[in-house]
């Protein structure tokens, strides 16, 4: 007699349905002590094992994270309380879900003893949510940080997103005139400069004075005023005032919140009252401190010069494209013979050839499992930094990937045409050329172009680990915090990959 059939009639059972060996209360009891046990005893082995496994993992990971949050505490209870204090939302929510799952599992165990109440995905959705919460905490997702750190991140990010200012500059021609200024009017005052006709001229009255400085309350004390006179400049044009300290550091002083600029009159002359700027005198300075004041004018705007980042980017991009191409070519050449070894339909002749098939397949799978970036690290150790290492890495991975793809194409060829050609009395070689090769060309070409696409993408970043190409440049710029230069590199990577992507898709569409 079957205890579980208290509800249904024996004749109504479908063939193959597992009967429950225990009544509902017993199942619930079993699942109370070991989640999933009740389900297993009720005949639902897979469900029970899944529940048991899920519960065990959730609890294990929870204990691990709690321990990490409270590793100084001793004793489970103390750890839990400390962890709860540090991350109340995570620990609290997860504990709640664990309890809910446990209770649900007890109720579910009872259900599993009744054929009509089996199934029910609700508890598994609950388990999924619990894993999601765990995952959130383990991966250290911090939305608050994302939001609060955004304003600080915007300046460098915007330089990367629109870097073109650093791409080109214009050649400038300048004329300037300057004179020395003595700090503190003790000692020899610098002389009035000599006026040369046709050349710009700058004088100041007086030619000594005090720099601006801060007093004890951090209030600015204005320095001496120098009355500047300029002659021989380009008429009706802006001129910049510059200051240089004895060490040669040059800067533009500011007055009234703006960089000091003067406008020349129609005679090419100007006058200006300059307040001596704020500059610290180093304590170790000995002797009279001579600074310099200059007036500069841009007289001509020359050609565009391509700056280094742009020039280097273009050079490296070419290197990158060729890296991708070479790696693909080498990959194709070596992958073709290897793919024959990895094709089941060609290798099923004898035990020895089958062994070779399995060995080849396994090696290819292992090589494919290791990403090209990691192969690049190995290659760099072997042949040094540079594009050669990158090509080696990409080639190795390409051979494995193409070998697998080609061999799958070979295994999928249609036997029919082969039979037909053989039936005409063709030799083995004729059969291969007339029936096998035409079938293999479209997938071979398609896979090769696909691989070329991937290799170009990969070669853009393989420089990050020393493999040459644009990645090499990019990582250097980032380390130097030169975000504009990095941005130029990123833009060119995007443009090139997009173009090659489109080109390869078009070729595949037309050819295949």
């Amino acid at each position: 007699m079957n205890l579980s059939n208290t509800m249904g009639s024996p004749k109504g059972r479908k063939a193959g349905e597992k009967t429950s060996r225990i009544p509902a209360p017993a199942a619930r009891c079993a699942s109370f002590f070991l989640p999933g046990l009740g389900q297993i005893l009720a005949g639902q082995l897979k469900r029970g094992v899944l529940l048991l496994g899920a519960m065990a993992s959730i609890l294990t990971i929870l204990f691990w994270r709690v321990h990490l949050l409270a590793h100084r505490e001793v004793g489970a209870a103390a750890k839990y309380i400390k962890a709860l204090g540090r991350r109340p939302l995570f620990v609290g929510l997860l504990s709640l879900f664990t309890v809910v799952i446990w209770v649900w599992n007890i109720h579910d165990a009872g259900n599993q003893t009744k054929p009509s109440r089996r199934g029910g995905a609700g508890i598994f959705i609950c388990i999924l949510v619990a894993f999601f919460i765990l995952g959130w905490q383990i991966s250290q997702i911090d939305l608050y940080k994302m939001v609060t750190e955004l304003p600080d991140a915007i300046p460098p990010l915007s330089k990367v997103l629109w870097p073109w200012k650093a791409a080109v500059t214009r050649e400038v021609e300048e004329i300037s005139a300057g004179l020395n200024i003595l700090i503190g009017c003790e000692g020899e005052v610098p002389p009035i400069p000599e006026e040369v006709p046709g050349k710009p001229y700058l004088n100041a009255e007086p030619r000594c004075g005090e720099l601006s400085r801060l007093d004890e309350n951090n209030k600015v004390i204005r320095g001496s005023v120098l009355h500047l006179t300029g002659r021989g400049f380009v008429p009706n044009t802006e001129a910049q005032i510059w200051w240089a300290d004895p060490l040669g550091n040059k800067f533009r002083p500011r007055q009234a919140g703006e960089y000091v600029t003067v406008m020349t009159g129609p005679d090419g002359a100007f006058t200006f009252d300059l307040i001596m700027p704020y500059r610290l005198i180093p304590p170790t300075a000995k002797g009279p401190q001579i600074h310099k004041v200059e007036a500069r004018q841009v007289t001509a705007l020359g050609n565009l010069i391509i700056n280094d980042p742009l020039k280097l980017t273009l050079e490296r991009m070419a290197e990158t494209i060729f890296m991708g191409m070479m790696a693909t070519l080498f990959g194709i050449i070596f992958a073709i013979p290897i793919s024959f070894l990895a094709s089941r339909n060609l290798m099923s002749g004898s035990l020895a050839t089958m062994a070779l098939y399995y060995i080849t397949r396994t090696i290819l799978n292992i090589i494919r499992a290791i990403e090209p970036l990691i192969w690049a690290l190995i290659a760099v150790v072997w042949v040094g930094l540079g594009p050669f290492a990158g090509i080696i890495a990409l080639t190795v991975h390409s051979i494995a990937a193409l070998g697998k793809l080609y061999s799958e194409a070979i295994e999928n060829i249609d036997q029919g045409p082969i039979e037909a050609i053989q039936a005409t009395g063709a030799t083995r070689l004729q059969t291969i050329l007339y029936a096998v090769v035409p079938q293999m060309i479209p997938p071979f070409v398609s896979f090769s172009i696909y691989r070329w696409d991937i290799n170009v993408r990969m070669s853009t970043i393989i420089g990050l680990v020393g493999g040459g190409g644009i990645g090499f440049l990019l990582v250097q710029y980032i380390r130097l915090l030169d975000y504009r230069a990095a941005g130029i590199a990123v833009w060119f990577i995007a443009i090139t990959v997009a173009i090659l992507d489109y080109a390869s898709a078009e070729i595949r569409r037309r050819f295949v």
């Binding site: 249609d414 029919g416 045409p417 039979e419 037909a420 050609i421 053989q422 039936a423 005409t424 009395g425 063709a426 030799t427 083995r428 070689l429 004729q430 050329l433 007339y434 029936a435 035409p438 079938q439 060309i441 479209p442």
Partner: protein, 255 residues
């Protein structure tokens, strides 16, 4: 011309496709093999030109036992036997012309490895295509053709071999009734020219129209042999013998 003795084929997984099959074929016959799917018709045809290797038994062609001959002799035999298939078995991406020229591969040498054929071969191909009525399709890719056209290419390819015998494995099973008669018409024409035809067919009305002799297979064994007249007088018992107890005979009309 062709003699099959005790032919048996057992596949690696234990399936017995042919069991002790024996019969002979005289020159000029139109021999049709009938039977359910899986009764061994395709296997039998393929054993004749050794696309499938028999497990036991012998195949005797023109008095020579070719069951175990090596490759060069086999080549000579194969090129005398043309074959057409249910699914046409054309090289889809090659042109119609290349497919038809491939029929000469049994006769050509190294030049064919570079896809070079002689002017004679090309003329022969053009004539063959004209004969089956698709000369204008010569430079299209094979997969651009309809089913009926593709089977005609298959026939043209077989014609290129100038064969003494033609094997046809369900040549019209994928075609509509009108096309079926067209294709079988070509086979009949070739038969009248003196080529022996060995054909497997499904529908008895076609068998009654074209066959000069019939062999019925069931589960790999011959269960029926009949001449043209005997087929037309086939009884229901004989029908069930070939096609099994559940078979129901549908005939549009006798004669």
């Amino acid at each position: 011309m062709l003699e099959i003795k005790n032919l048996t084929k057992v596949y690696d997984d234990g399936t017995v496709a042919l069991r002790d099959v024996s019969f002979s074929v005289s020159p000029g016959e139109f021999l049709v093999i009938i039977g359910l799917s899986g009764s061994g018709k395709s296997t039998l045809l393929r054993c004749i030109n050794r696309l499938i290797e028999p497990t036991e038994g012998s195949i005797i062609w023109d008095g020579d036992d070719i069951t175990a001959t090596e490759t060069s002799k086999l080549r000579h035999v194969r090129r005398q036997i043309g074959m057409i298939f249910q699914h046409f078995n054309l090289v889809k991406r090659s042109s119609v012309m290349t497919n038809v020229l491939a029929g000469r591969l049994g006769y050509t040498g190294a030049s064919s490895l570079f896809y070079q054929f002689s002017e004679d071969d090309r003329n022969m191909a053009r004539k063959a295509l004209e004969r089956v009525g698709i000369a204008d399709q010569a430079h299209k890719r094979a997969d651009e053709l309809s089913g009926g056209q593709q089977q005609r290419v298959g026939i043209a390819r077989a014609l290129m071999q100038n064969p003494r015998m033609v094997l046809a494995d369900e040549p019209v099973a994928s075609l509509d009734p009108v096309l079926a008669h067209v294709i079988l018409g070509y086979l009949e024409e070739m038969n009248r020219e003196g080529k022996t035809v060995l054909c497997s067919l499904h529908y008895l009305d076609l068998v009654q129209r074209y066959a000069s002799r019939v062999i019925g297979l069931r589960d790999g064994q011959i269960v029926y042999r009949g001449t043209r007249e005997e087929i037309r007088r086939m009884t229901d018992d004989e029908f069930r013998e070939i096609y099994g107890e559940d078979a129901v005979r549908v005939s549009a009309g006798r004669g």
